[in-house]
């Protein structure tokens, strides 16, 4: 609870005493590149396989001939858009980007780089953290869209190549009973998750004390806490919006 209060104060410190817009602009662009480059290959890999596995497993469970086979594609689409792309990817995002944010800021803390910024009169939390959060919120939704596409493509590849269903059936399944709101919902989720992961990871890193060991602990904690926050938020958003 005390931790939560500190977190809120931390968030407040991000928006007071800011630097110039152009400074942030540059930092955000830099962070975006970092995030994109670091995570794109992992995202492609994981999401493609997830789509493929979902297809195979759904096909395996659909033993009755009463259900048309195009339903498999429909299931893959729904799973991907609603849960796999935004939520499972958030866990991967926390592991990859969150831990590196916490580690990076934690290292800056213990090597006095943050003090060096403060001595120059820079609001270190806002200077270091705000660009990271904004960049996550820009990049993560894009990565989610990309992961969704990859996942469905993975499903398509496996489904058609192994003869589970024909390309026509797959496309038919993708298009049947489509509700656009699921996409909006997925994007809302990804904004929220990106914010949570970015801010919690930076928070953990920013208050690191001690040495290299504590930096390691901070990045582990960053992942654990942000994954928990993401799952809680996932539940609340589902209740609220669906």
């Amino acid at each position: 609870m005390k931790e939560f209060g500190r977190y809120l104060l931390f968030l407040q410190s991000l928006v007071v005493r800011r630097e110039t817009f152009i400074t942030y602009y540059r930092l955000v662009i830099e962070e975006c590149m970092q995030i994109g480059v670091k995570s794109i290959s992992l995202f492609v890999l994981v999401s493609t396989f997830m789509g493929a596995v979902t297809t195979v497993q759904t096909a395996f469970n659909l033993v009755t001939p009463l259900v048309a086979r195009y339903v498999i594609a429909q299931v893959v689409r729904e799973m991907t858009v609603l849960e796999l792309a935004p939520t499972i990817m958030a866990i991967i995002f926390a592991g990859k980007i969150g831990s590196s944010m916490a580690g990076g800021i934690g290292t800056m803390r213990i090597t006095e780089q943050i003090d060096a910024l403060e001595v120059m009169g820079i609001n270190s939390s806002s200077y270091l953290v705000l660009p990271k959060i904004i960049a996550s919120m820009i990049m993560y939704p894009m990565l989610v869209i990309f992961a969704g596409v990859c996942s469905i493509f993975g499903g398509y590849l496996v489904g058609t190549l192994t003869g589970i269903l024909t390309p026509t059936e797959f496309i038919q399944g993708l298009r049947s009973l489509f509700n656009e709101f699921t996409i909006t919902f997925a994007l809302i989720k990804s904004f929220v998750f990106a914010f949570l992961i970015g801010s919690i990871s930076c928070f953990k890193g920013y208050y690191t004390q001690g040495g290299a060991l504590e930096v390691g602990i901070a990045s582990t904690e960053a992942v654990t806490s942000s994954v928990i926050a993401v799952l809680l938020a996932d539940y609340f958003l589902a209740n609220l919006l669906l």
Partner: protein, 249 residues
């Protein structure tokens, strides 16, 4: 000139500094010395505003920094350069970007002027042709030099150094000490060095404050330090046989 008045600080009820007062002169290398854990770094942090003292104030040429409002604070901050114990270079940046950083955030200098200033400072600390090396690729001694260059790049009136020669060999230590000393005189800076290295104390200490368990026990110059009459200081100064022999004379 920097003046401190009744600075006290405690952490979680444990008192670390007990009402320290004193003065640090302009154009001189002022030292704060004392054993490990006596609160030297804490005092330095209270003076530069990295942590807020429980009581007391620091005055920069009569301007009260501790209780100043934002504008005055940032005005004074522009005049401060600081060298950190571990150099604290930004490791995502190269040497040139590190030294240029204060100019980027504190001034509106045109780019070529900035580069000139950076090269001048790097040359002044004896570093040339390393502009594009990353901060993580250079040796500890070079890091200190880059740290000094970064600290003086914006023409500070006040220079703070926390253990400038920790982790360096004795020879490099003396070079760094002398560099700080020369720069202090050359640019007429109020320099404040925290150290527990006796070589620095005897070599460059023009005005010395001795801290012992959070109290100021003695103040004076390096000429007087060997006959201060303060037992704790003698214990600190005469640590090895050679020094003890000196005292006997």
């Amino acid at each position: 000139m920097i003046k401190i008045k009744n600075i006290s600080k405690s952490f979680n009820g444990k008192s670390v500094l007990h009402s320290i007062s004193g003065e640090f002169d302009k154009g001189k290398t002022n030292l704060i010395i004392g054993a490990s854990g006596t609160g030297k770094s804490v005092l330095l942090k209270c003076i530069v505003g990295l942590s807020q003292p429980d009581t007391g104030n620091a005055f920069y040429d009569l301007r009260n920094f501790t209780e100043a409002d934002k504008e005055v604070k940032s005005e004074i901050r522009r005049e401060i350069g600081m060298l950190f114990q571990g150099s604290a270079l930004f490791d995502s940046k190269n040497v040139e970007e590190n030294v240029m950083f204060p100019l980027n955030v504190l001034t509106k200098m045109p780019p070529d002027e900035k580069l000139d200033r950076v090269n001048f400072c790097l040359k002044r600390v004896g570093l040339e042709n390393v502009n594009k090396k990353m901060a993580s690729e250079i040796s500890g001694g070079m890091k200190k030099r880059v740290g000094i260059a970064r600290a003086i790049v914006n023409n500070p009136n006040y220079l703070f150094c926390d253990e400038p020669n920790s982790g360096l060999d004795p020879q490099t230590s003396i070079l760094i000490d002398e560099l700080i000393h020369e720069i202090t005189h050359e640019f007429n800076i109020t320099t404040l060095v925290v150290t527990h290295d006796m070589n620095s104390v005897l070599g460059i200490g023009e005005k010395i404050m001795f801290l012992y368990k959070g109290d100021k026990l003695w103040e004076g110059s390096n000429d007087d330090i060997t006959h201060s009459g303060v037992k704790e200081l003698d214990d600190f100064v005469f640590i090895n046989k050679v020094m003890k022999g000196l005292k006997g004379k």
